[in-house]
Assembly symmetry: C2
């Protein structure tokens, strides 16, 4: 099928997807019958362009690389907001990659609703709308017979959401636990090599793993948002981030790391959702993990997820949790899945 794409947001993840779409254009057509054309890109900082005859995405990448406005490219209409863009574009797929607000899901939620109302498929990597409006959006897509992909919300392109919902369909999940934040795992791994917390954090910032304000990562908000999305999808619970138990890694000392090692254990920031009777307990907190547990050997910015369920017992998947290409690929995998379902 031919996707006519609108990008809401053109940050790192959107650029990662664009690079993959360009690099793999011929293969996607030959192996999957997937063709594409981008008709609009609207980014609050970088500018907004719309052309129903198609936009030259190599040129857009090049402008972005030079730090120039997207509006320097050749396009029919310029300067539209995302909602104005959705209203005017002749498209069938929204790539929603604007900024994340875990508390409100705005502005992404408005963009996704508008796209569904125009009869477009939607792919996103944004936790916000999933945390706050997950079931509404899923039901909206089903009702309108549209594709809705959000694999990149948890562990970037490493299969987690699709893995659980599709490959493990029909299973009943009793526990979801994982290392869902790469920044904190990198810091803990560096502390195992002898650094104290402030030095490890500084190193993570230097390498670009942690932001100048590292709160969302080190206080566990990012991991919490992800485990809430998984629990919502697999256990049917709705939880607001403010009401769940959340403890970050800021109080872990070098001595705690040493003591753990002496006892054959490691500290990991574990996000967990546990179903007991009709109750689901969600938490993010540092836990002591035996070194024989697959999660203990997940080092650096790598992530991992262990699912426990009736049909197989437990499985663990280990893979990248972030990155430009890795998260861009999550969107491509979602687009390929929509192509697979709707191109028959």
């Amino acid at each position: 099928m031919k996707f006519r794409i609108v990008f809401a947001g053109f940050g790192v993840v959107a650029q990662g997807l664009t690079e993959l779409l360009l690099e793999k254009q011929q293969m996607l057509k030959n192996s999957y019958g997937l063709e594409w054309q981008v008709v609009a890109v609207s980014d609050i900082h970088k500018g907004s362009v719309l052309d129903n005859n198609g936009i030259d995405m190599s040129e857009l990448l090049s402008l972005t690389e030079k730090g120039q406005s997207l509006e320097n490219c050749n396009a029919e209409v310029k300067g539209l907001s995302v909602l104005e863009t959705i209203a005017k574009a002749d498209a069938n797929l929204l790539v929603e990659v604007t900024y994340t607000d875990v508390h409100t899901g705005k502005p992404a939620i408005d963009h996704i609703r508008a796209a569904f109302n125009k009869g477009w498929h939607v792919v996103t990597t944004n936790k916000g709308p999933l945390i706050n409006y997950g079931q509404e959006l899923i039901n909206m897509a089903i009702k309108k017979n549209l594709g809705f992909g959000y694999e990149g919300v948890v562990m970037s392109g490493t299969p987690t959401i699709g893995l659980a919902l599709r490959n493990l369909a029909g299973s009943t999940f009793t526990e979801i636990k994982g290392i869902l934040n790469g920044t904190t795992n990198y810091i803990l791994t560096e502390m195992e090599k002898g650094l104290d917390y402030p030095s490890a954090l500084k190193q993570a910032q230097t390498l670009g793993y942690a932001e100048a304000d590292p709160t969302a990562d080190v206080e566990g908000w990012d991991a919490l948002g992800k485990i809430i999305v998984m629990a919502n999808l697999l256990m049917g619970v709705t939880v607001k981030p403010d009401t769940a138990y959340r403890k970050g890694i800021t109080e872990i000392k070098a001595k705690d790391i040493e003591d753990a090692k002496a006892n054959g254990k490691k500290w990991r920031l574990i996000a967990r959702a546990e179903q007991k009777n009709d109750n689901v307990k969600i938490s993010v907190a540092p836990e002591l993990i035996p070194i024989t547990d697959p999660l203990a050997n997940v080092s650096g910015p790598t992530n991992a997820l262990t699912l426990t369920f009736d049909t197989l017992g437990a499985i663990t998947i280990v893979g990248p949790g972030a990155g430009k290409k890795e998260t861009g690929y999550a969107l491509l995998a979602d687009i390929l899945e929509i192509n697979r379902l709707y191109n028959r």
Copy 2:
């Protein structure tokens, strides 16, 4: 959709699927719109029954448990071979779970071709037809627009084949490596606890992990068949088991295990397919794995697979590699995927 099922073979895996279908009957209907009825079961040892009005599968499980012939149940027609059954049954899904011949793919290949020619979907856990006729069968299913599921061929219900082909679609794979045989991994893990090879093998036999003639497992044939299937699917190569490099675990001594431990390593039987330029190298052999590698911490009968590819780097999935319920679930997952694709 409503599946009208024919079982070719009614061994442990078929029984595992049947138990899941019965246990989850209501949920499958409510959550996935999946309904089912078994119209025939043909097993070379247990007997053969066909009734286009449906067979009572609880009764069949009960007869099997008592070691009685399936033909003691109520059914229109009895005593047909699998091919005669396929010819006479009014069905739309073949569950192919007869015995495995990695060298010829017989008799499963004939059953699968016959089912496709009747316009039925097919699910199987049998390596034989995939090793020897994989691309032919895949193309046949595509041409006839039929579902063809074979998730259980590698690591039982743990997602591997679907994971690579669907969730990781559009990726280019350069290395596939894994612990794909639970029996040998159990033996190596027991040797790490101090047993020598003969004692560990005997223990595996007592627990039912290894057969009386353990050749297929300990000489690497089983793992080789699985890596050949993966390499065929992901790298497009066709290899006959006899021509690949294969070394089992029978020559590993207690001292080798100790020496490895002293060097921070573990012995694991690694199945591997490596793409270099246009050449794919396939092998099964014991390898020394650093304990920091996710594969080193895979213990007992658990299996694991590490895929290396362009879009994400590397991911590892760890989960059960065998078992009645676990392999039965692989078939259920395949059926749910066919339902998902063809029920729209």
